[in-house]
C-alpha cells in the first residue's frame, strides 16, 4: 500500500513485510523493481535467487540476501519510487514536473481534482497522495486498455478509494456534467488541450486552477489564446532537475605530475578506512553535474478561473 488511506492506519514504515505486500526491490538507484510478495514467490536477478518467504516478517528498509549471498534492499513504495518503476504505457511525468504541478494547482487534502489523460498514471499517483484521505481524483483517458491497466495499477498500489478512472474522449466531449462547478483543480496532458479548456472552465470552482502540460510551444500558444476568455493569472513554466555525482578522492599535486597524465585517485563509494599516512593531503569531496540528462519535458501552463463577483 502506497498511502495510509484508512484513517486508523498510521503511515509508519516500521511495519513488517507481509504476504501480498507491494515492495520495491532496490538494486541501485537506477535499478528497481516492484514486486508483490507471495509465500512461494522467488525473484531472480544478477545477484542470485531470492525467496519471498525470507522477506516476510522483516521490516521495510531491510537488506535481503540471495542464495549466493548477494543482496538487495526491500523498500516501501512511495509515489516517487512508483514513478520510477511503473510500466510505461505512454510518456509519463517525472518528479520535478509532478511536484510543481501539485503545488501550483494548490491541491490540499480534501480537494476534488479532474485529470485527462490518465496515461500511465504517474501523475495520478501523486495527485491521489495530495488529496488523501477525503478528496478524490477523477481521471479520464479515451484509450480503453490504458484505463483498464491504470485501474489495475491503482488497485495494486492501494489507491482505488481515491481515484476513479473513466473512459472518455475529453477533447471531443469535455468532462462529464456531474462535475460542473465542483473541481478544485484540473490537469490536462492532451495533444490538443485547447479543445478541452472550455469544458475545464465549466468544471472549476471560482479561483480554481487549471494546468496544461504540453511538449511543444505551438500547443502552449494555442492554449493560452483559448485561456484568455475565462482565465487570469496565466503563466507558463519549464522545470528541469539537474543531478550531481559526488566523488571523494585526491587530485594529483603538481610535484607528482612528472611526465604522466594525472588521473583522479578516486575512492568513489568505497570509504577509505586506511589510516596509513601514505597521503598527507586530506581527501576532498567533489561534485559535478551528471552528463546526459533530460533537457526538455514540456511546458506547464497554469491559469486561474476568473472570479465573477
Amino acid at each position: 500500500m502506497l498511502l495510509p488511506v484508512d484513517s486508523t492506519e498510521k503511515l509508519s514504515f516500521n511495519r513488517c513485510i507481509m504476504d501480498g505486500d507491494l515492495v520495491i526491490v532496490y538494486e541501485r538507484h537506477d535499478v528497481m523493481k516492484p514486486i508483490n510478495v507471495s509465500e512461494k514467490g522467488v525473484l531472480q536477478n544478477r545477484f542470485g535467487v531470492f525467496k519471498h518467504s525470507d522477506w516476510i516478517g522483516k521490516p521495510f528498509g531491510s537488506k535481503a540476501f540471495s542464495s549466493k549471498g548477494g543482496f538487495v534492499y526491500l523498500l516501501a513504495p512511495t509515489p516517487e519510487l512508483w514513478t520510477l518503476v511503473l510500466s510505461h504505457r505512454t510518456q509519463i511525468l517525472y518528479i520535478a514536473d509532478i511536484s510543481f504541478v501539485i503545488m501550483y494547482l494548490e491541491i490540499v487534502p480534501g480537494c476534488v481534482v479532474l485529470e485527462s489523460g490518465t496515461g500511465s498514471g504517474s501523475l495520478t499517483t501523486s495527485l491521489a497522495r495530495a488529496v488523501a484521505p477525503n478528496g478524490h481524483v477523477y481521471t479520464f483517458d479515451f484509450h480503453e486498455q490504458r484505463a483498464v491497466s491504470a485501474r489495475e495499477d491503482f488497485e495494486r498500489t492501494g489507491l482505488s478509494s481515491l481515484v476513479t478512472v473513466g473512459v472518455r474522449d475529453i477533447q471531443g466531449e469535455g468532462f462529464p456534467d456531474e462535475f460542473i462547478g465542483r473541481a478544485d483543480s484540473v490537469f490536462l496532458d492532451l495533444p490538443q488541450p485547447w479543445l478541452a479548456i472550455p469544458s475545464a472552465a465549466k468544471m472549476l470552482q471560482q479561483d480554481g486552477v487549471l494546468c496544461s502540460f504540453s511538449p511543444c510551444i505551438e500547443q502552449v500558444q494555442r492554449s493560452c489564446e483559448t485561456l484568455k476568455s475565462s482565465f487570469t493569472d496565466i503563466r507558463t513554466f519549464e522545470i528541469l532537475l539537474h543531478t550531481y555525482e559526488v566523488r571523494e578522492g585526491n587530485l594529483a599535486s603538481l610535484q607528482d605530475s612528472d611526465g604522466v597524465l594525472a588521473s583522479l585517485k578516486s575512492s568513489k563509494k568505497r570509504p577509505r578506512s586506511t589510516n596509513g599516512q601514505e597521503d598527507s593531503r586530506p581527501q576532498s569531496v567533489m561534485a559535478r553535474r551528471i552528463g546526459e540528462v533530460r533537457g526538455h519535458t514540456g511546458y506547464l501552463t497554469f491559469a486561474r478561473l476568473s472570479c465573477i463577483g
Partner: protein, 462 residues
C-alpha cells in the same frame, strides 16, 4: 478519538474559497508590485498608495476577486471590480492586431512636454470626485504622444498610469505556493532563498501526506513547517526538533489559514527527548547544540553572496514591500499558540510512539548550518525505508553529507539535485523566456533510510 469528525473539518479552512472574519489573506497590489499579508477583521486597515483603507469590505468575498480604491463620502473605500467584457487583466489586453503592427517608435520623442495635464489638474479632478479610472482616461486623452505609440507601448502606458492612479488589490489565498512566492520575491533571505519549485520538491521527496509524522528541522521561520502542515490536513504530525533551550521561531505559520485541528498537529520537541534514552552519542549532540547556538552569530558574519545584494537593491527601489511582520504582529491572539507563532510541546505519549516507530519522513532546511551535523542526529530517528530530504543553498555541505551517509551505510537512493525553473511570456508572435530568472533554487539531497545492522546470512529464525 473523534477521527471521523476531524477528517470532515480538517481540510475545511485551507480549502475555503470565501473569506471570513479573522481569516488570513494575501493582498496582491498592482499585479505583484507589492504583496502583503493581513488578517481580515472589521478594524484592520491597510495603506494603498497614499490612502488608508479598511479591509472590512473584503470579508465574505471570494478569493480571487479584485478591488479598487474609490473615494466615497466617508473617505477611501475598497470596492470590488466586477470584470466585464473589457477584460480584467492588467497585462493581457493585447489582441491580434499587435501582430500586424505597422506603427513604430521612430517618431517618438521622450520629453516631459508630452503630457499637458499637471499635478494640480489631477488634484483638482480628484476633489471633484473623479475616480482613478477617470484620471487614467484623462491622462491618455491629454498625452500628445499616446496616439503615435505602438499598441504595445500604449498598453504599457495605460498600465503604468492605472497602477499609480487606480491601484488594484487582488485577494489571494495564503497557501504554500503564494506565501513562498511572496517571500521569495521580496524577502528571499528570510526563507533561505528557498524557491517555490524547490519547496514543492521537498514536500514530494519527503512523501508528505495525511497521517504522516514528519520531522521538520526548519530554520526558515516556519515556511516549511506550514507547507507540511497544509499537506497533512490535520492528520499526522509535524514535529520541529530543536537543541538548546528554545524552539526555533515559526512565525510564517500564522499566515497559512490552518484549522485549529491542524495547528494542534504542529509540535516541537527537544532533540535529546527524541533520541533513545541510553544513547551514547551525547558528544555529537553537544556539537550540534553548539552549532545551533552559533547560527545566529554566523548569520551576521556570513558574507552575503551577490543575490542578497541584488535583493536589497530591489527592496530599496520598490516603494512598498511586504509588511508581514507589522501586519502579522497585529493579528489577534486566538488562544492557539501556533497562530501566535509558536508551536506546542509534543506530548509524552506521542514522543514515545515516535521513539518506538520512528518518523515517517524528515525534512531539513537550515541554510546556515552544516548538513551532516544535523543529518547524523536526525536520520536515525526515521523508520527504516523512510525518505528524507535536505535543502541547502550551497552544494558542498550536501556533497559531504551524502558521502558520509553513504560510507556509514545509513541511507541508500542518495541523490543531489538542483531544480531549474524558467518562466515564459506567451503572446501572439512574442513568445520568449522571461528576461530575468532566478539562477539558483538551491540544492537538495534526498535519500532513503535503511536498516544498517543487517548481516549476511539472514536471521535464521525468520
Amino acid at each position: 478519538m473523534s477521527t471521523k469528525n476531524s477528517e470532515e473539518n480538517s481540510s475545511g479552512n485551507q480549502n475555503r474559497r470565501i473569506t471570513w472574519e479573522g481569516c488570513s489573506v494575501l493582498l496582491d497590489i498592482n499585479d505583484g508590485d507589492r504583496v502583503l499579508f493581513a488578517r481580515l477583521t472589521a478594524g484592520s486597515k491597510v495603506k494603498i498608495g497614499d490612502k488608508n483603507c479598511s479591509l472590512q469590505p473584503l470579508i465574505g468575498r471570494p478569493f480571487g476577486s479584485s478591488f479598487q480604491v474609490e473615494v466615497g463620502a466617508d473617505g477611501p473605500v475598497l470596492s470590488q471590480i466586477i470584470p466585464n467584457a473589457e477584460g480584467n487583466n492588467l497585462g493581457e489586453k493585447m489582441d491580434d492586431q499587435t501582430m500586424e503592427e505597422c506603427r513604430d517608435n521612430r517618431a517618438l520623442v521622450d520629453n516631459n512636454t508630452a503630457q499637458s495635464l499637471t499635478g494640480e489638474d489631477i488634484d483638482d479632478m480628484r476633489r471633484k470626485g473623479a475616480t482613478g479610472d477617470d484620471i487614467v482616461q484623462a491622462l491618455i486623452a491629454n498625452s500628445a504622444t499616446f496616439e503615435k505609440k505602438t499598441a504595445f507601448s500604449q498598453e504599457k502606458y495605460r498600465i503604468k498610469k492605472q497602477k499609480k492612479y487606480a491601484p488594484r488589490v487582488l485577494l489571494r489565498r495564503p497557501l504554500a505556493r503564494s506565501i513562498c512566492e511572496a517571500y521569495f520575491k521580496k524577502h528571499a533571505e528570510k526563507i533561505g532563498y528557498l524557491r517555490v519549485d524547490t519547496l514543492s520538491l521537498l514536500l514530494s521527496m519527503a512523501n508528505v501526506t495525511a497521517h504522516s509524522d514528519v520531522l521538520v528541522f526548519d530554520m526558515l521561520e516556519g515556511l516549511v513547517t506550514g507547507a507540511v502542515a497544509e499537506r497533512l490536513g490535520g492528520m499526522g504530525y509535524v514535529c520541529n526538533p530543536y537543541c538548546g533551550t528554545t524552539p526555533y521561531p515559526v512565525s510564517i505559520v500564522r499566515m497559512f489559514n490552518l484549522s485549529d485541528e491542524t495547528c494542534k498537529r504542529i509540535v516541537h520537541a527537544r532533540l535529546t527527548e527524541l533520541q533513545p534514552s541510553n544513547s551514547g552519542n551525547s558528544t555529537s549532540t553537544d556539537q550540534l547544540v553548539d552549532a545551533c547556538n552559533i547560527t545566529e552569530q554566523k548569520n551576521e558574519n556570513t558574507v552575503s553572496p551577490s543575490p542578497a545584494v541584488d535583493l536589497v537593491n530591489m527592496e530599496e527601489s520598490s516603494s512598498g514591500n511586504m509588511e508581514t511582520d507589522t501586519n502579522v504582529a497585529a493579528f489577534p491572539k486566538s488562544g492557539n499558540s501556533v497562530k501566535a507563532g509558536k508551536s506546542e510541546d509534543a506530548h509524552r505519549e506521542v514522543i514515545e510512539s515516535w521513539k518506538e516507530n520512528g518518523f515517517s519522513s524528515l525534512i531539513i532546511a537550515a541554510p546556515n548550518m552544516d548538513a551532516w551535523d544535523i543529518a547524523k542526529e536526525l536520520v536515525p530517528l526515521l523508520s527504516y525505508s523512510a525518505p528524507f530530504v535536505i535543502y541547502h543553498q550551497y552544494l558542498e555541505p550536501l556533497a559531504t553529507c551524502m558521502h558520509n551517509l553513504q560510507s556509514k551505510k545509513m541511507a541508500i537512493n542518495l541523490q543531489i539535485s538542483e531544480p531549474w525553473l524558467r518562466e515564459y511570456q506567451v503572446l501572439p508572435s512574442r513568445t520568449h523566456p522571461h528576461m530575468q530568472m532566478s539562477s539558483s533554487g538551491g540544492y537538495l539531497l534526498s535519500g532513503t533510510r535503511i536498516s544498517s545492522n543487517d548481516q549476511a546470512p539472514i536471521n535464521t529464525n525468520l
